[in-house]
Assembly symmetry: C2
Homo-oligomer: 303 residues x 2
């Protein structure tokens, strides 16, 4: 089955694998956004409303340690996907959970994972509507938690990665870097902020920062077919984090978005009133493709 | 994390685990059917149309052998979920795929899995709108394929497991048993038949047979709070299969449904015209809870 004489998944990496697998898929007319954005977007049956759809997996040993508190593991599994729904301007609606569990896994551990899930579902107003479990085979099998989620967004408020325009200001919420000190298990997805943003302004492009700005900003730029100029000295960093950590650590789950420069002042004033405790930082602006520059730059990640 | 001193997942089994995890979940008003049916049912944004939502995983070594043809593995992963959507009377709309892959997995194996997926998506008219991959950790890690799918169903055509009424006739499509000779990788989900059924008749309850009639019929009866009388001599069996195999092998992916006895003759005539090559067998009828009898019975599975 897995002929190791041929090219392996490890050799080409996840991004290239996904590119190959999804490049030639044919999408039906009801699919407004297919693979490649934070969520897929489907034409809803009601006019003016779209359905958002996303799947995401957490693997023990990759996304959380065996010693992590199970409530936090459950929370994280859902919070990551809420963050993706938020990044499209939407509202989460329902989630279905698949748990692949080693046979010796303690029931009370699994119940604690679900408690964490129920709590965040209550917090953000969606329902857990289905649960499947399967055996994770192998003696030293790891736990895998898959979450699939639907959300809704008004057609007029949908934001993808692909709409950034020349001259747009680029913003990030919160602070970046250092997620591994524990924030990756306890972060609050920016759902309230994202909904406020699309209800009051018109961000041209948006995504959540899951792999770090150095990987994610180029993705937004590529989807929008633009370049960017950013000033690394302006990056909002978590205390004790270097610029390199702010760029590359990943799992920030902050919002990155672009907005017409004419709206910048209004946004900055309104944001401070609405979210006095959440930073909003203008880190640069959108320029022509091929003219990307990073002041004080030269980081490996940006090549 | 997994304290083996406490009760384990293997000890209580999957059904009891899912029962414990989902029993106390609170469902919001938009959730019409939560965990426990073939799919969850959500109030759609359009009047008269509901959203179906389902997640399901295939694990190498559990649901398919490492030697299975990858196109067929991809097909099966989606066909199982199409069968669940069909069992609610719905039409599949979009699927998102999570692949957990060992690092040494061959890219061309994964590409072949996707070819099988694309083919069945074309066959049944839905789109693959998102793909995620993650590392399956461990040296001897197995492949896991998770599929989440949305579907649509007209409110008037929705069928759950919970509507069977006293006196209803019980039907199964096709033939049962012996899935392991290869049909579990190549079956055709009964989507066309199910849609025809809900468009032309009003089945009171329906489900697909994934774990075998002996496990699944009691589930339908429990959901409907009824009993059943079935005649094991009438079970439609695949060639070479015993009654016990027809009851217990599982992975038949045929439809089991109940219908008012007054509609039986009309159904049987219309079915023969519509599907001359698909068997339809009346296996018994619905009776009061507690009066369940299986003629020629006495099988372990039915206890």
């Amino acid at each position: 089955m897995k002929k190791t004489s041929s090219l392996t998944v490890a050799e080409i990496g996840e991004d290239e694998l996904i590119r190959r697998l999804t490049a030639r898929l044919t999408q039906r007319a009801s699919v407004l956004v297919g693979p490649g954005d934070d969520c897929a977007v489907l034409q809803g049956p009601a006019r003016g409303r779209h359905l958002l759809f996303k799947t995401d997996a957490l693997v023990e040993g990759v996304h959380f340690l065996p010693t992590a508190k199970p409530e936090r593991v459950g929370r994280k599994a859902l919070a990551r996907v809420v963050s993706d729904i938020a990044a499209m301007g939407g509202q989460p609606q329902a989630a279905v959970i698949t748990l692949a569990l080693p046979p010796l896994c303690a029931v009370r551990w699994v119940e604690a994972v679900y408690r964490g899930m129920e709590k965040i579902a209550d917090e953000f107003g969606f329902s857990l509507v289905g649960g499947e479990t399967t055996r994770a085979p192998g003696r030293k099998a790891s736990v895998l938690i898959n979450v699939a989620m639907t959300g809704e967004v008004e057609a007029a408020r949908l934001v993808t990665r692909a709409g950034a325009k020349l001259g747009d200001a680029l913003f990030v919420t919160g602070a970046l870097g250092g997620s591994l000190v524990g924030r990756h298990l306890s972060f609050t997805p920016r759902l309230v902020e994202a909904r406020w943003l699309v209800e009051n302004f018109r961000p041209h492009a948006m995504m959540d920062l899951s792999d770090g700005l150095a990987k994610d900003l180029p993705r937004l730029a590529a989807a929008s077919q633009v370049g960017y100029e950013i000033d690394l000295a302006r990056l909002p960093r978590h205390r004790g984090c270097s610029t390199e950590q702010a760029l590359g650590d990943g799992e920030d789950y902050e919002l990155l978005f672009s907005l017409a420069s004419s709206s910048v002042t209004a946004l900055e004033i309104a944001w401070k009133k609405a979210f006095p405790h959440v930073r909003l930082t203008r880190i640069g602006h959108v320029c022509k493709k091929g003219q990307t520059t990073t002041l004080a730059g030269g980081y490996e990640h940006f090549r």
